[in-house]
């Protein structure tokens, strides 16, 4: 009987020692850790709409569609599991996972990110090459590297027309700048 009373006193002591630990959450914000994986954010200035994120997403909620000269990238975040594979796959680091976790809504359609990019078309055949950002990226990479294109208008062709021109002028299109 005495042992029981002592154990009850110990339990009461633990509760008293702990005191009040409740976080004042709804009245004061409780931000998560900076590593927290919250709602994905697309940085459209960096995105080159390559589709690597779409390949990596386990819930397959990222879709890319080309239509009427516009490439539409859409993320239906209703079923997102916040795993971060899109962020890991993106070569441009255009996707980051923010700290936002208060995502409740009456309509899951509100959890949508849609970005539309203009497509550049081939000057020979009119087929879409890629988005303006993609072509810009190739231009920047070439400028920053040791190699130089003899004719920069080569970048405005689609892959089939590039092949045709290369067959006609087999001389190396790239030369190393010393």
């Amino acid at each position: 009987m005495l042992k029981h009373t002592i154990s009850e006193l110990k339990e009461a002591l633990i509760c008293l020692e702990a005191g009040q630990v409740t976080l004042p959450y709804p009245f004061q914000p409780h931000p998560p850790d900076e590593n927290f994986r919250g709602k994905p954010v697309l940085h459209t200035r960096k995105c080159m709409s390559c589709g690597a994120c779409g390949n990596a997403c386990p819930a397959r909620l990222i879709s890319i569609r080309d239509e009427a000269g516009i490439r539409t990238l859409s993320f239906e975040l209703g079923r997102c599991t916040y795993c971060g594979m899109c962020r890991d796959a993106c070569p441009q680091e255009a996707i980051t996972l923010s700290q936002q976790f208060e995502l409740s809504t009456e309509t899951p359609g509100d959890l949508l990110i849609r970005a539309e990019f203009k497509l550049v078309t081939c000057r020979e055949c009119g087929h879409p090459i890629g988005t303006e950002r993609q072509v810009e990226l190739v231009r920047e990479k070439l400028k920053a590297s040791d190699m130089q294109l003899l004719d920069m208008s080569y970048l405005e062709l689609c892959i089939n027309c590039k092949r045709k021109i290369f067959i006609r002028t087999p001389a190396l299109m790239l030369e190393v700048v010393s």
């Binding site: 079923r79 997102c80 599991t81 916040y82 976790f101 995502l103 809504t105 899951p108 203009k118």
Partner: protein, 149 residues
Amino acid sequence: MNALDWCFKKSIWVYHVNAGSCNGCDIEILDVLTPYYDVERFGIRLVHTPRHADALLVAGPVTRQVRERLIRVYESTPDPKLVIAVGSCSTGGGIWYNSYATLGGLGNVLPVAIYIPGCPPRPEAILYGVAQALGLVPKQVEKQEFAEV
């Protein structure tokens, strides 16, 4: 606002249903009752039968087996009631959205008042969602659309 509305805004009793979830959302719902987040200070408590409940907290993409039981639970809950979908699985099916064994989210089975996405949603997010369902806090998400002109 009549007396019934006032009571309903202050303390709703919730009944938790696991509609095939992995248990992550269920444990986070249980976490909301623990000392750090303590939802009981708002008068919200977990009840053990749907007949006492004001709101149903459903977690999980609804599997085929659970569907009839879920509908039975919904029908046993007296009106007025709120159905709250917790987690990404009940919001849109999660990664099981096109599986042969699930029905792709709670929206396909019951009329849902509010969805709380997250995998699992933090206890704070669940608190926020329930408060939003009661009309106490504003919605924070909106569609993000960008068009390169």
